[in-house]
């Protein structure tokens, strides 16, 4: 219930003013709720779908066991979470985020190197976007060192 209210508030604040988004980000506007894992065992309940945006809750950092130690782990008073996403074909992907958490895409214990960083357009609800060259396979998306208890996240393939 409390979560539902949060999501409603977040959704209204994100999209209070319409922003024109480029076509590759069109999925950003329809959000569905996805659970957040605090360790590898819980990842089955925290699976993101490619090209669809999700509202997620974030957990206090001391509760989280990351699958690989994040470069920016966040202090005891910060928030984060981990998610699973399956990448079906090798290519350039973008992680879009509503808050400023540190992002890592981990496969086989290794973080993919980001290839580009950007901020979102004004009123888009997008705080940051990070691009990665990803291989086929299952990745763990790690969010760390965030200031908020909720965020929205989208992983999308770039043309």
């Amino acid at each position: 219930m409390k979560n539902g209210l949060f999501i409603l508030l977040l959704a209204t604040s994100l999209f209070a003013n319409e922003a024109v988004l480029p076509s590759e980000l069109s999925a950003w506007k329809s959000l569905s709720y996805v659970g957040t894992a605090k360790n590898a065992q819980e990842l089955t309940d925290a699976t993101l779908t490619l090209n669809s945006a999700s509202l997620v809750g974030l957990l206090p950092t001391p509760k989280i066991q990351y699958v690989a130690r994040p470069t920016n782990e966040g202090g005891t008073v910060s928030y984060g979470g981990i998610f699973r996403i399956t990448i079906k074909e090798k290519g350039l992907y973008r992680v879009v985020l509503a808050n400023a958490s540190w992002i890592e895409m981990v496969k086989d214990g290794k973080s993919a190197q980001s290839v580009a960083h950007a901020q979102g357009a004004k009123n888009s609800g997008i705080r940051k976007m990070v691009d990665y060259n990803l291989d086929e396979g299952t990745y763990t998306l790690q969010l760390s060192a965030g200031a908020d208890t909720t965020s929205a996240v989208l992983v999308t393939k770039l043309p």
Binding site: T61, T71, N72, T76, V77, A100, A145, A147
Partner: protein, 325 residues
């Protein structure tokens, strides 16, 4: 007798070339402070909302700069100045882009933690939080006790800043290609870099301010164009903002050029995207107009000041999560 003292004096001088770490002479307390300072440097609990550590802005792989024009603070306040690298920072008397009244690295570290212009880590008025957060951690209790036995291991912003100082004093970068070749008495490997070196120390007079071995004279100069185009950015008068003396307006401390190839963008406001932009940005009176080729040669020389042992030195990297004690 006198002669002996004299010889000892000379030996001491010779045994301490510039830019040398003195780790063998460190007391156990100093060693403990370095170990503690390293952990603190990577700990985001030094910021109000746990989102930002010193290393968020000072990344080792970028010689402790960060690649942004200016880095926003923990509460998203826009950054004011470009993040400088920290190579050989213990050898500087004047710290930051334009300050001549800081007593040292300990006092400097209070600026990001509780500074308000701009707000970076956001701890102003919340200093007691630091002791509270770190004090809950058993490992920190042990580390502070080892590092500050005379203060009974007190965990507060002052002991934190002293440990950060001890750690940063170990940031020595003296293994660049330039250093290696100079030591062997050999020329730099490429013609281009050799010509760049000649220009740097010769006709282009870069060395008058970017003086070896620090590649900074640790002094203040006005080298920016008299009428900067980006007036609308945050006002920054350089040294006069600290001293209140109008003569100090637009004076900035000469940045070291060691590892400069890794620390783009450049200039106190991050307004120069590349080394070429940064070199061209100096007021033309400072150096005679340099042509394209000469700028390329100078850049080749600056490249030879990059020190991969510094950016890969495991002693400066994020420490293991496990407590060493």
């Amino acid at each position: 007798m006198i002669k002996n003292i004299f010889t000892i004096g000379i030996c001491l001088l010779a045994a301490q070339p510039a830019l040398q770490a003195q780790s063998s002479q460190d007391t156990p307390e100093q060693k403990a402070q370095i170990e503690l300072g390293r952990r603190l440097f990577y700990d985001a609990d030094l910021s109000i909302n746990g989102t930002m550590s010193c290393a968020t802005c000072h990344e080792q792989r970028k010689a402790f700069a960060d690649g942004n024009q200016a880095h926003p603070g923990a509460l998203d306040d826009p950054g004011k100045r470009n993040v400088p690298g920290l190579a050989n920072i213990g050898a500087f008397k004047n710290l930051t882009w334009a300050h001549n009244r800081l007593s040292g690295l300990a006092e400097q570290s209070l600026m990001p933690m509780r500074g308000t212009e701009p707000v970076e880590m956001g701890m102003n008025g919340h200093e007691a939080e630091i002791g509270k957060r770190l004090g809950q951690n058993e490992c920190y209790q042990k580390l502070f006790l080892r590092a500050f036995p005379n203060k009974k291991g007190s965990i507060d912003i002052n002991t934190v800043s002293r440990a950060l100082e001890s750690f940063q004093k170990t940031f020595v970068s003296n293994q660049s290609l330039y250093d290696q070749m100079t030591e062997k008495g050999k020329p730099l490997p490429t013609q281009k870099a050799q010509r760049g070196k000649k220009l740097f120390f010769g006709a282009a007079k870069c060395n008058t301010c970017h003086r070896a071995p620090l590649f900074s004279d640790d002094d203040f100069h006005q080298v920016q164009p008299k009428n900067p185009k980006n007036e609308d950015r945050m006002r920054d008068n350089g040294l006069s903002d600290v001293t209140g003396n109008p003569k100090d307006k637009n004076l900035f401390r000469t940045p070291s050029l060691r590892n400069a190839a890794l620390t783009a963008p450049y200039w106190h406001d991050g307004s120069a995207k590349t080394l070429a932009d940064a070199i061209r940005k100096h007021d033309v009176n400072v150096h005679q107009t340099l042509n394209h080729q000469e700028i390329d040669e100078l850049i080749a020389f600056i490249d030879a000041l990059s020190d991969t042992t510094f950016v890969n030195n495991p002693k400066y990297a994020k420490p293991a999560k496990e407590c060493p004690y």
